[in-house]
């Protein structure tokens, strides 16, 4: 029966012999583990393809809904976190695997005649992979996405002659990015790049087949078949890669930040890690030399990659004798690693609560005072009786939340104003700020509650919120030390003779926490 069906399929389509032809292709006896990376890269693409389609089925591709729909995917759809995690980490994974694949081919010298075109197509595929990363980066439409893309568009805008046209092509109008840029990036990411990628992967694989898998310089073992030995090795490598990817997607949560805000000057843009080295290079070239960092060096690097098979035309030699190639890979790795580490180290890190207003930090205090944490976790995976706030979006109206607080924590000792502020804060929580409920230091939170209770915000401002009569408090801790600040609370006129600030004689504990809070306001 099965045989009859197979015979029918073979007769009408040739599929059976086609598959056999693919599986029983002869490969050199030296083939082995070092050649699994191409298959792994292709599988990475497949994972991106499937998870990308799944995301698109629940995603509204226009700002500002893009952000809201992604938040919906993450917090309200089953498996949403996982699928987004796979797609996010899959992108990084694909870059890593594609680069490893390229390094392997480079080290073994497999680009040599007659495989030059296969190599050059591979370089194009690398660029397409980076193109996916670049266009996909904007799609979550949070601050990271927005500001990262501002920098990208500005870099390309500096291209000689073509700059303004490239900028127009990316839908950007005099440096601003908006709905048009978004539409173009989304269109490229889901409509333009995928078919192009599939076509070129097909050609790449066709060329690999046409010329056969690259043999060792001296083949000692007899040729073997692709199936089953190499197929097993490829499958196992794919399985290992996917296990790592799956672990990343479940264990390393990718936060969706605050919705893109073009006026948020506190946000420090950083590109995705694989572009960090380029970002760092830009620091070394000033003024008219800038073009060297942004265009010439990357251009030369890509040009050299394309030209590799023509620069190195010597006969194939053993890996051990390819000292020059090994040296190049080694130097490139050191250069890339050094630049990336330098960029990471120069990234100032701010705890999310350091961007909070005093009202928000004080709300963290209210959360703790009312012991909300007895029922609600705020760290992913912290299971308690009530919903984990890191996993949900709070839709309840403010007054409904206040009523919930009063019923659940009747003895919190919080005033109605504090409960309303807590409710407002709860409704604003996002992936990045929710962790602050657990991480903000106790004394700082206490200081912020005292700050609110003493109505300091009527005259002073913190992180842009508050009155303008008094000095903004951000930066005070950079200019003054703790003793000065303490003295200034107790007797303001002694330190600033003309000030109208009244005296604040906090008790010892209150003063300690107030100063702890003030000391975090360095900039």
């Amino acid at each position: 029966m099965v045989k009859n069906v197979m015979d029918w399929v073979e007769d009408r389509t040739g599929a059976v012999s086609g598959v056999k032809h693919l599986l029983y292709e002869e490969i050199p006896g030296s083939s082995g583990w070092h050649q699994v990376l191409g298959s792994v890269a292709m599988f990475c693409f497949l994972v991106q393809f499937v998870t990308g389609i799944l995301l698109a089925l629940n995603y509204a591709p226009t700002p500002p809904d893009a952000h809201a729909s992604l938040r919906f995917i993450l917090t309200e759809l089953t498996g949403g976190r996982l699928i987004r995690g796979l797609h996010h980490w899959g992108a990084s994974m694909m870059i890593v695997v594609v680069c490893l694949h390229m390094i392997q081919v480079f080290l073994w010298g497999s680009y040599k005649k007659p495989r030059e075109a296969t190599w050059m197509l591979g370089v194009v595929l690398l660029l397409l992979t980076l193109g996916f990363g670049l266009t996909g980066y904007l799609l979550p439409w949070d601050n990271r996405a927005y500001w990262g893309t501002v920098v990208t568009t500005q870099i390309t805008a500096k291209a000689p002659l073509a700059g303004p046209y490239i900028l127009r092509l990316m839908g950007s109008d005099n440096g601003q990015i908006g709905v048009q840029t978004f539409a173009r990036f989304y269109g490229a990411h889901v409509l333009l790049l995928p078919p192009l990628m599939m076509l070129l992967i097909g050609l790449h694989v066709f060329l690999v087949r046409r010329h056969g898998v690259a043999p060792a310089p001296v083949e000692t073992a007899p040729a073997k078949k692709f199936y089953p030995g190499q197929v097993f090795k490829d499958t196992l490598a794919i399985f290992i890669m996917f296990s790592i990817l799956f672990a990343l997607a479940t264990l390393a949560r990718v936060p969706l930040g605050k919705i893109a805000d073009p006026t948020d000057s506190t946000y420090i843009p950083r590109p995705e890690w694989y572009f960090l080295f380029l970002f760092q290079i830009l620091k070394f070239f000033e003024g008219p030399l800038e073009i060297i960092g942004s265009m010439v060096l990357p251009g030369v690097a890509v040009g050299l990659l394309f030209a590799t098979p023509f620069l190195d035309r010597g006969a194939a030699v053993k890996l051990r004798q390819r000292t020059f190639a090994i040296g190049i890979v080694f130097l490139a790795a050191i250069g890339w690693g050094g630049l990336t580490v330098a960029a990471m180290r120069s990234t100032p890190y701010k705890e999310p609560w350091q961007n909070f207003t005093a009202e928000e930090v004080a709300a963290v205090g209210a959360f703790r005072q009312a012991k909300c944490w007895q029922c609600h976790g705020v760290i992913p995976g912290d299971h308690k009786a009530g919903p984990n706030l890191a996993d949900i979006t709070i839709h309840e109206e403010r007054d409904a939340l206040v009523a919930h607080f009063k019923i659940s924590a009747p003895d919190s000792g919080l005033r109605d104003l504090q409960l309303r502020q807590l409710a407002t804060f709860m409704r604003k929580l996002d992936d990045e700020s929710v962790g602050a409920i657990a991480s903000a230091p106790g004394p700082v939170v206490g200081g912020a509650m005292l700050y609110m209770k003493s109505n300091c915000g009527i005259c002073h401002s913190i992180n842009g919120a508050g009155g303008k009569t008094g000095t903004p408090l951000n930066g005070v801790a950079k200019r003054r030390n703790r003793a000065w600040m303490e003295g200034h609370f107790i007797d303001p006129q002694k330190y600033s003779p003309k000030t109208i600030m009244p005296r604040y004689a906090f008790d010892a504990a209150g003063m300690a926490s107030m100063l702890a809070y003030m000391e975090t306001l360095k900039d």
Partner: protein, 145 residues
């Protein structure tokens, strides 16, 4: 004939992708801040509302300017976008400079480049002082250097 078909598709496609959308002039002057809220020679971050046309959408959005009162009726308003790659600069009172967080370009209180890769001074808004109202117009690109 193939050439004609290519041209008939290609030329409109290029125009479609490259030519800016036809746009109505946006509102010209916006009241951003009162003169009395500014302190002499101290840059103030001013957030004001403007109606901005973003593609097919008309959005009322917050915009930012760093506004400095330089004389009795004289005001300068800088765009917050670094002239290097468009990150938002902020004022650091302790060393009296505008600093960009991306590639550490810094600018003097009058917008000139002190250090870093920025190619030109901070861009300025057109400014009109109307009584005590500080009105901001369009951003004008600063000269090179």
């Amino acid at each position: 004939m193939m050439g004609a078909i290519t041209a008939a598709l290609g030329i409109p496609a290029l125009g479609y992708l490259l030519v800016p959308a036809r746009e109505k002039k946006q509102q010209k002057w916006i009241e951003a801040v009162a003169l009395t809220d500014l302190r002499q020679d101290t840059p103030e971050q001013v957030v004001f509302q403007r109606v901005h046309r973003d593609g097919w959408k008309l959005v009322t959005e917050n915009a930012v300017a760093w506004v400095v009162k330089t004389g009795e009726k004289e005001v300068i308003a800088f765009s917050p976008l670094c002239t290097h790659l468009g990150c938002a600069v902020s004022w650091h009172p302790s060393d009296q400079t505008f600093v960009c967080p991306c590639h550490t370009s810094s600018f003097s209180p009058d917008g000139k480049v002190i250090s870093g890769p920025a190619p030109r001074s901070l861009d300025r808004f057109d400014v009109r002082v109307d009584g005590i109202k500080v009105m901001l117009g369009e951003v004008k690109q600063s000269a090179e250097g």
